[in-house]
Amino acid sequence: MKQFVDVICLNQKTGQIRPLYILWENGEKYPIDKITQIIPAASLKSGGMGLRFTCKIGNSYRYLFLEEGKWFIEKVQLN
């Protein structure tokens, strides 16, 4: 499943976009410490495709997708 999220971004003068914080539903604001890769990619887990940012948040890595102007992450299935 897709989990759409609010993201605070920096629109750089070079035209690039860089996500800085992910705003979670519970009001938590997660800073993105590092972006290790940006590539066009499909999300086979949650469906869709777009620009995929590999983000280091704390000690873990998550994929953040930008698709048609909206940001989403792949929702983790607990079962």
């Binding site: 590539i39 066009p40 990619a41 999300s43 086979l44 469906g47 869709g48 495709m49």
Partner: protein, 414 residues
């Protein structure tokens, strides 16, 4: 130098794109099709699992559901398919600029001069991998020394596979295949070939070319050349401007078009919309194309050159009607009709009227049509229409301007 041609075919394209956006249907039988009430209740595409239930393209949804009660039906999203198609094309263009799209989900690539990226097979594998990674869909690719065999190759093993047909192995791979698997050999021409005992591609290849010429004319010669691997047609350079080189619309009607009256109503709507777009863009066109698609989804296009450039619906309509009468026999009802015009000049450039045209009449018609444009822009599209359109209001009640500037099924309209 031996050419290296790839033919890339996106597997179950519509269904794969839908599956990507609906991961919950993965592993289930899925078709893409419209709902019954909107008159699009037929199967447009099916995934690999639905194929196992013998569900075929163009059959009605209820028939398909009979074969597989658990069938999942997803609505088509043509805009999204076009986007994917363009993204795939961008990937192709990273390897060569000789890319010739063949419909929305197929293309030829000439990679003879792309050795930097590897051999034909290596490039084919890279492209497949990249499509899978970036877009989440699969493709099968044929690699060969001509376009015909490359296309055959991409059909041989699906999904997600590279097939290589070389000068050394084509006799073993291609020749045993049924003749109708080759491009240019359709269902009815295959029946004709069978009369003369020509069942396989090998049969054609080993037949005397003069015999084929005598029986089938130019076409006979062409298929002999194809069957022997002698096709030397080039992969056309992909030109992004090409897509803006024509203006057109198509309409899939809410019920099939059964007779010329139905057809004329739709041609009226289409020619008006195309002419309006031409005038809005300040262009005039010299060629008219009509696209036909019957109830079995078989489609073809015919075109005609006009004597002079035009932006008038009356002129476009007249040629479109002639094209229809000349080229369609109504063996099956029509499902979709399209009109497209091309070969443009700027309206302001156009001064030379044909010697035999009645200039006053043209000017009068132009005035009439621009007046209609004005009325419609002020009071809406339906505020004014031809009396003939009232014959079947359900059929004519459609404003294609702005709704469908590009043909939905681009694949069929070349």
């Amino acid at each position: 130098m031996e050419r290296v041609i790839l033919h890339c075919d996106l597997n179950s394209f519509y269904a794969s794109v839908e599956e990507l956006y609906h991961p919950e249907v993965k592993g289930k039988p899925v078709v893409v099709g419209g709902s019954e009430d909107e008159r699009h209740g037929i199967v447009l595409a099916r995934n690999q699992i639905a194929k196992k239930y013998n569900i075929v393209t163009a059959e009605s949804i209820w028939q398909a559901k009979k074969k597989c009660p658990d069938l999942i039906i997803l609505k088509p999203n043509h805009k999204r398919y076009e986007e994917f198609s363009l993204k795939v094309r961008e990937i192709f263009l990273q390897y060569t600029d000789l890319v010739e799209p063949f419909g929305i989900d197929e293309a030829w690539l000439d990679v003879s001069n792309s050795k930097y990226f590897g051999t034909g097979k290596e490039i084919a594998d890279k492209i497949r991998e990249q499509i899978k990674q970036e877009l989440g869909i699969t493709a099968s690719v044929g690699v060969s020394f001509n376009k015909v065999f490359a296309k055959l190759g991409s059909d041989l093993r699906k999904p997600d596979y590279t097939t290589i047909i070389t000068k050394e192995n084509y006799k073993e791979i291609v020749w045993p295949l049924k003749a109708n698997e080759m491009i240019y050999v359709g269902k009815s021409s295959y029946e004709q070939l069978k009369i003369y005992g020509l069942y396989t591609i090998g049969d054609i290849a080993n037949k005397d070319i003069n015999f084929l010429k005598e029986k089938f004319g130019k076409w006979g010669e062409t298929i002999w050349v194809f069957a022997n691997g002698l096709d030397d047609s080039e992969v056309t350079r992909y030109d992004q401007r090409q897509e803006a080189k024509s203006i057109g619309n198509n309409i899939t009607t809410f019920r099939n078009m059964e007779n010329w009256q139905d057809v004329d109503i739709i041609l009226n709507v289409l020619s008006e919309s195309v002419a309006t777009t031409l005038r809005q863009r300040g262009l005039m066109a010299k060629e008219v194309l009509v696209y036909f698609r019957d109830s079995q989804l078989k489609s073809f296009t015919r075109q005609v050159q006009l004597n002079d450039y035009t932006n008038l619906s009356s002129v476009i309509l007249k040629s479109a009607k002639q094209l229809c009468r000349k080229n369609y026999r109504f063996q099956k009802p029509l499902r979709t009709l399209g009109i497209r015009v091309r070969k443009f000049i700027e309206q302001s450039e156009h001064v030379q009227l044909s010697l035999f045209e009645n200039v006053d009449e043209i000017k009068q018609q132009e005035k009439l049509e621009t007046t209609i444009d004005d009325i419609r822009s002020r009071y809406g599209h339906k505020s004014i229409k031809k009396l003939s359109m009232l014959v079947d209001q359900d059929l004519s009640d459609y404003n294609p301007v702005g709704e469908n500037d590009n043909l939905t099924d681009v694949e069929d309209f070349k």
